[in-house]
Symmetry: C3
């Protein structure tokens, strides 16, 4: 009995693709484009205007694009001037602020908070309760686990500063903090509750507070003695190399 | 002026008990059963369908049961195929995914995120912002404090794996991480911001990152020299041994 | 196209100031006062009743006051018996429970959870995902960053106990835990992921788990050799000393 159209509000300037379904109590504001086959579930706000809207009489919503075959679960808030590729999926209550650019086939979990002015590549998956600061740059195939926070300043407060850069295939364990204009390389694994405030090279196994390079991820073995990283060799669900 | 029935939507197949009150903008989907005397507040979704719903034409919501005298506060999302006992209370914006089984007299705080495929016993209380991974098993009288995360893999990503098991009466301090198929015994106390990746025996006082057994909880004393644990001997509010 | 008045519900006993705008699906309960020029965005609940409401036939909502020129973003829940000064701003999904007193020109970020029975001074800014326990007392010009938790007991569970006191101008870094009836002085800087369980004097640079005083903040220098704290000397955006 979902998608009855109850209390749905869609701007006349929104462009809604074919076979799009929109849940109860959802609002789609001006200049939003939703790709074919997408689902926007209940109680969402798509095209939320930025602060300027509240102070300027002449505010015009910037174009906001959600690609084809998205599944955006309930209570999501996606701002104007966000551009998202195809195959996007979210959990509930996701917040994605303005000037976020997200690639294809990404997933953003429940309660994630993306602060805008950031880029995320393709095939990234953020689990629940991940916070990404402004001016972050995240590569492709980056997985981030619950409670991780990326922050853009080591000695707050400051004016806006650049956030972290995360290399392709890197995995960031739960509750970790990644702070400042640092670069974490490709194919790294960051253990739980680590606190990073400096650069790390590719293939680093990173752990601790303050975080240190504990070794090369290619040396990590499972209990059965199998190599764990690069994880591309042992995990394929939803990835392009899945059969 | 609550419970005016404004913009409430209830499936014809839902079974609503006597003296149930339902808040504005709440949706109750197919095959939900709500026990007598329960309150479902505003903007909730009860019986949220699983992902299969979006891809299958023939999806039928599994039965979802909320027991008697529940108080579910606003913006909660409870999936289909969740079974909850009597006297359940929540804060706001709770998420409880499918195949969660929760006992009697439990409380789940604001912004908690229960990922489903998990069991929780009786008289458990989770404070705000607690994240429980899939395939966790939590005993009776377990209290979990804000910002705690249970996660089911030490070396992600992997296919679905078993989460932690938490023994009866154990208390988990704020911001702690409990990771993998480990067993934390009964009557343990885990100090704030601990990171657990191995088993701990009953009555352990657990602290640190990585967490270590610092002693027996029965040796911990208050500033006044009174024993603190087992806490059952000094705390009774809402517990069966009250009065 | 915001503020069309769609599905808005306002109690007859609420007092709404001049030039107030209220978003879709928002509910304003009894005895709420909203100051001139304020914006309450979509899907908010203002004047949410306390638990007593659900068990007592005679519950009367206490007066709730939001000052002039507030901007409260969507999905906020503000309880009855909250008093907030002028120039208040929030992110999305903020929760502010009963008996919270908040001064002028404060900002509370997305997903923040203020548990009530607390005081916050003027010009405080909490970034996203901050949790403040009951019986906390926060001074003026305190900035708290994402994922910080203030908790009121070191050895839970206990009956209600006093929470932390935070001095004017103190900055609390991401993911930190501040636990118990402790006092953090004025002009302190707490580094990321610190765990505080004891008092700290004014001007302390605090770091670690358990947190220690690492020095005087006045000795901290930027990469360019400039003093960082007191931060009042180098940061003015939105502060009374701007211009």
């Amino acid at each position: 009995m979902k998608f009855t159209g109850k209390n749905v509000q869609i701007s006349p300037s929104a462009i809604i693709g074919d076979n799009v379904r929109i849940g109860d109590n959802t609002v789609i504001y001006d200049n939003v484009v939703i790709g074919d086959g997408s689902v926007i579930s209940n109680n969402c706000i798509i095209g939320e205007p930025t602060a300027d809207y509240y102070t300027s009489e002449s505010h015009q919503n910037a174009k906001t694009v959600i690609g084809k075959n998205a599944l955006i679960r309930s209570h999501a808030i996606i701002y104007e001037d966000v551009h998202i590729g195809d195959g996007f999926q979210t959990g509930h209550r996701v917040t994605i602020r303005e000037k976020s650019v997200i690639g294809n086939h990404c997933g953003i979990g429940t309660n994630c908070d993306l602060q805008g002015y950031l880029t995320i590549g393709d095939h990234c998956h953020f689990h629940s309760e991940v916070h990404i600061c402004q001016f972050s740059a995240i590569g492709n195939f980056v997985f981030i686990y619950p409670g991780v926070i990326l922050a853009n300043d080591k000695h707050p407060p400051t004016e806006q500063v650049k956030g972290p850069t995360i290399g392709n295939f890197t995995q960031i364990g739960i509750q970790s903090s990644i702070i400042g204009n640092i670069r974490v390389g490709e194919n790294c694994f960051i253990g739980a509750a680590s606190v990073l405030t400096k650069d790390f090279e590719d293939y680093s196994f990173i752990l601790g507070s303050p975080a240190k390079r504990k070794g090369d991820v290619r040396e990590l073995k499972s209990d059965a003695g199998e190599p764990l990283y690069p994880w591309k060799n042992r995990f394929s669900r939803g990835m392009p190399w899945q059969d």
